[in-house]
Structure formats: C-alpha cells, structure tokens
C-alpha cells in the first residue's frame, strides 16, 4: 500500500528525471556553446520562484524511424506561467538538449496550449527559440505544429503582447513565429536565424558564408530589421525584456501600469541640443531624454534604420511611445526601412493604448534609384496609414525642419494629430529653401548676371517668408509655437487632456494597409 508520503517522493523523483531534459552530457554541450539551458533561461527571466510548469510529462507519439524507442523529456520544450515585476506571463522555452529542440507535433501542441492560455487569460506570451527545426521523423505532423503556432501568433496579434527570443538556431519555417510577434530579441554569437542556411547556399551557389554573417544577431539587428533588441549576453537580453514588459500593458484592454512621476535629470539641457543651422546634426535621443521621467528611454530597433528613432519612455508616470527623426543619421530622411520601422511601432502603440509623441525634424524622403525601385512609395505610405489609423493620443512637436511630404507624414494635423506644437526655430514649408528657390525663381536666376548671387538672394527671401512656424500657425495647422523648455510641461498637459480621448471609426473587418 502506498502512502501519500510515498506518492510525493515518487512525484519528486519523476520530476527530477524529466527536469534534467536531455541529460548531463547534453547540458554540458549546451554550456560549452555559451548558452544557458531552457530551464535556466526561464528562471533568470521570471520573478524568483514564480515559474509554474505545465505539461512536464507530455510525451511524443512518433512511431517511425526508431522514434517509438526514444524518450524525449518534455518533448523538447518547457512551458508554463510566471511573473515579471508582478505582471502575469505565459512562457515557453525550447530545450536544445532534448533532440536538438526539434519540433514535433506534441512539442508544438505544448506551445499552442500555453499560447491559447495566454490569449484567454489576456497576458503577454514570451517564446524562447532554440531549435534545430522540424522533427523530420514525424513528417507532416511537425509542419502541422508550425502552422498551428503561426495561426495563434496572428490571432493574438494586437490582443496580447508577444515577445520572441532567438537563443540558438531558428531556421526555415520556424522563423515565421518570431516574425509574427511584436518584439524579437537576439544575442551576439548565440542567435542564428535564416530561411535557408549556409549548407543549402553552398550546395546551390557554391558560396561560402558563415551562419553569423548570414543570419547572426548583428545582421538581424542592423541589416534586416528582423530583430528589435540586440544584446551582448543572455542576461543583458533578459534585462531588456524585463524593462520592456514593465513599460507595456498586459493586453489591449488595459493601459501600461502607471508609476510615480519623476523629473528628467537635466531639463534645461533641451535648449542646447538642436543646432540653429538646419544643416547641422545632433542626437535626437538627447531631446527625448530631456522630456521623459528620469531621462529614461528604452529604444526599439536601435541599430536598424537609425535615421528614425522609436522607443518607450514614461511621462508623468505613464508609458509614451516616441517617434523621432534622427538628423544625425542620413539627415533624418524617411526611406523604406525607416518607414517600416516607424509604421509598425505606431501600430503597436495604437493597439496597446500607448500615446504617441512625435518629434519632427526631417528634410524629406531619401532620393535614389534603389529607394524608388525598392518601393519607397508603398513603404512610405505605411507611415501615413499608421498615423491616420491610430486613435490613441497623438502629439507632434516640430523641433526644426518639416518639409513637404515628410511634414504631412510625421503625424501632421492633417492626419489627425490631437496637438501640434512647434519650436520657434521650426521651418514648415513645402520643401527646403534651396529647392524651393530654384523652382520658383528659376527664370530670375537663369537670367541674372551673377546666378549664384541671385540664387542666394532668392533662398534668403524664401527663408524669411516660409522657413518659420508662423505661416502654418496662421492657418491653425500648428496649435502653438512653444519655447523648448516648455515642451515637457505642455506634453504632460496634452497627455492629461487626452487621457479619455475617444475617436470612433467606421465599422470594418480590417483596413488594407500598404505592405
């Protein structure tokens, strides 16, 4: 006869075996690759002692190629719930020590179960990817598993925040789950992400490329834009995720948790950042840090399309999404990548009730055949679409230049901005003075004896007339021209005023944004 005590001992023994995943040798191999195990990752990411595991005893039902004799603990994935700074989290981590983290149907069903749970409980889902790919022995069952995950990623999109970590290989079809989620985190030397790997490329093309050069962390953080956050180590990556989770709401029915308001560290510095000469660069992140609580700013996509800056900060204790042209990189132009970057961020903010503050200083769109042929028209249109569609509070501060189509695109009054502020040095015009003078006074310049002198004079004339905020202000397109040092207090006022903003849109199944 068994006693309860004996039952408990049996349970503990069973758990201890399964919790070892692929066993000591495989765990040592994981460590040798510089990687934490799936279990260590979950423990380090979640609040202490908050992890509660689901489906520990799930087993695969493969019957072919010797699979019937193989025991795969947890079927290569650990799933469960926990908290991060008290926020409820559903989480899964693929366990590379168990059959290379390969995805079979039961493995996938553990993931879809925790995803369903997250969607039902309305809490964020975090997925840690570290898998060699589909479990080929299971054939189409593995493919079914991927498809069921993608479907849930899509259904959950805009309802609960979805976060993906790439902490190992993530190749072939597997890449599309992270790609469908809101934020992708990569770590130097550990993350490897691609559709076709170096071996296939070598076979087909005879080209040698390393995994790192093809789809390493840096590539996705800087070139492709597939990754939103880049870290040097797994622990740094977990810190980034904790900061992000603290700044976003649990679901689309809530606002992010409000904390106590704090003053920026050096609020008067704001008057000394933007050079008066519109051709001179500066770092717009310094401006952001002069207006956010505690001068804190969590930048998203820091390395990719750096000509626009996006990220989260707090104002008056509440989360705000910032979109800012970065004059320091490519003069702050809009191009294909920066448009994609801004548009997706705006849609995230809108879906999750995060007000958007736009800091504008941009000369226009990036000229070039490569841009035109890459479809800068449809990419640029995404920004117009995202701003127009958004119903969260939308506030713009024009810091310096606002020319042409860029002026319209960067959350202008015409796209539904709730508040439009401009600094006194703002230039709101149909294009830069040189371009405008060349067009308007073409004849005068051509006929002048000294063409350069005439051009200079006409440029000066245009600057005096239009390179200021007062023409736009006279038409009511700008609500007020403000001193830089007033920026934070006016933004706080605007955010407070728009806290209960309501904007009703026509009923539709969904819009058709340009892709």
């Amino acid at each position: 006869m068994t006693s309860l005590r004996q039952n408990i001992i049996d349970l503990r023994e069973k758990k201890a075996i399964v919790e070892m995943g692929g066993g000591e040798a495989a765990i040592n191999k994981q460590a040798a690759m510089g990687k934490l195990t799936a279990r260590e990752r979950i423990i380090n990411l979640l609040d202490e002692n908050s992890f509660h595991e689901y489906d520990l005893f799930v087993e695969h039902d493969g019957r072919d190629f010797g699979m019937e004799k193989k025991v795969l603990h947890g079927d290569g994935v650990i799933t469960g719930t926990g908290t991060i700074f008290g926020a409820p989290i559903c989480i899964y981590a693929q366990d590379f020590t168990v059959a290379g983290g390969s995805l079979g149907l039961k493995h996938a069903r553990k993931i879809t179960k925790i995803m369903d749970h997250a969607l039902k409980m309305k809490c964020p889902i975090i997925g840690i990817n570290d898998s060699g790919g589909a479990r080929i022995q299971e054939g189409v069952g593995a493919l079914a598993g991927y498809g069921e995950i993608f479907y849930r990623n899509t259904i959950a999109s805009g309802v609960i925040p979805q976060i993906s970590l790439i902490l190992g290989p993530c190749a072939g079809g597997a890449v599309y789950s992270p790609a469908l989620t809101d934020f992708v985190f990569v770590v130097e030397n550990i993350s490897k992400m691609f559709i076709t790997g170096p071996n296939v490329i070598k076979t087909v093309l005879g080209e040698d490329i390393s995994m790192e050069d093809l789809g390493g962390a840096r590539v996705h953080a800087e070139i492709t834009g597939n990754a939103h956050f880049y870290a040097q180590s797994e622990l740094e990556c977990f810190d980034q995720i904790k900061r992000l989770v603290s700044l976003i709401p649990w679901n689309n029915a809530q606002k992010a948790a409000k904390i106590e308001s704090r003053e920026p560290l050096d609020p008067t510095h704001i008057e000394h950042i933007v050079p008066h000469d519109p051709k001179q660069p500066y770092d717009v992140r310094e401006v952001i840090k002069c207006i956010t609580d505690g001068s804190e700013f969590l930048e998203v996509h820091e390395l990719w399309a750096a000509n626009i800056v996006i990220g989260f900060g707090r104002m008056g204790g509440e989360t705000v999404g910032f979109v800012a042209n970065q004059a320091m990189v490519l003069a702050g132009v809009l191009d294909c990548d920066s448009s994609d970057k801004a548009a997706r961020f705006i849609r995230f903010c809108d879906a999750f009730n995060v007000p958007i503050v736009t800091l504008e200083d941009m000369p226009g769109y990036l000229p070039g055949v490569d841009q035109e042929h890459a479809g800068v028209i449809r990419h640029g249109a995404k920004v117009l679409y995202a701003y127009s569609e958004a119903t969260v509070p939308k506030i713009t501060v024009i810091l310096r230049k606002a020319y042409g189509g860029g002026y319209i695109a960067m959350n202008s009054r015409h796209l539904g901005a709730d508040f439009m502020f401009a600094w006194p040095g703002a230039e709101i015009a149909v294009m830069g003075p040189e371009g405008a003078a060349n067009t308007i006074f073409r004849k005068e310049i051509m006929e002048a004896e000294d063409q350069d002198a005439m051009r200079q004079e006409k440029v000066r004339e245009y600057i005096e007339k239009f390179a200021n905020p007062y023409v736009a202000a006279s038409k009511g397109f700008i609500d007020s021209v403000i001193e830089p040092k007033e920026t934070r207090s006016l933004l706080l006022h605007a955010l407070q005023l728009s806290a209960l903003k309501e904007e009703i849109r026509p009923t539709k199944k969904h819009g058709i944004p340009p892709f």
Binding site: E222, P281, A327, V329, D370, G432
Partner: protein, 106 residues
C-alpha cells in the same frame, strides 16, 4: 555610428551634415540594362547550352536550360539578334542576377 564622421548629404538641393549607415553605403548601384542582356532570375546551375557565340537567334528561341529551385527552367531570347558572348558554362553554379549571355540586335 561610433566615430562621428559627418559627411555632406544632399536632400532636395540642400546639403546636410550627417552620418551614413552601412546599408546605405552598400546600396546597389543602378545600371541601365541592355535589352539583349540575359540575367539569371534565380540561383541555380546551367544544365545545358543550346546556342554558341555567333548564332543568330529569334526572339523566343531557347538559349539554355537553367536548373533552379528543383525545376528545369527554359531561358529564351528576349530579342532577335546575334549571340555575342556567353558567360556561363554547363554545370556552372550561378547566383541571381548573373549575366549569362548577351545578344545584340542586327
């Protein structure tokens, strides 16, 4: 972005001081394609050549078979003319946008 080496950068007739991105520096340079240039549209291998330099071809004539994505793709002449150069060999693995063959109209 570490070393702040600002360069001149022109947008609608105005010159700005700014940094460039690696991606911008490495952007593809556009060249006007000639109507008789035949490029590969997929990575793959040349399975067989059907013409030689000097051959007169008509628009639509089969030039070569390009094996790519598990398919034997027929590559045909975009214009009528003379084959002036062939820059691939049978069995050679080539990437996308590889100039395979040139035709000049007569």
């Amino acid at each position: 972005m570490e070393n702040k080496e600002y360069v001149d950068f022109v947008v609608t007739a105005r010159t700005y001081k700014t940094l460039l991105t690696k991606k911008f520096i490495n952007r593809p340079v556009w060249k006007k394609p000639l109507p008789g240039d035949v490029f590969s549209v997929l990575p793959g291998a040349v399975q067989s050549l059907k013409v030689q330099v000097g051959d007169v071809v008509n628009e639509g004539d089969l030039l070569l078979i390009h094996e790519a994505m598990k398919m034997l793709n027929r590559v045909v002449a975009p214009i009528s003319g003379v084959v002036t150069s062939i820059d691939v060999e049978v069995g050679e693995k080539i990437g996308k946008n590889h100039l395979m063959l040139k035709i000049e109209s007569k």
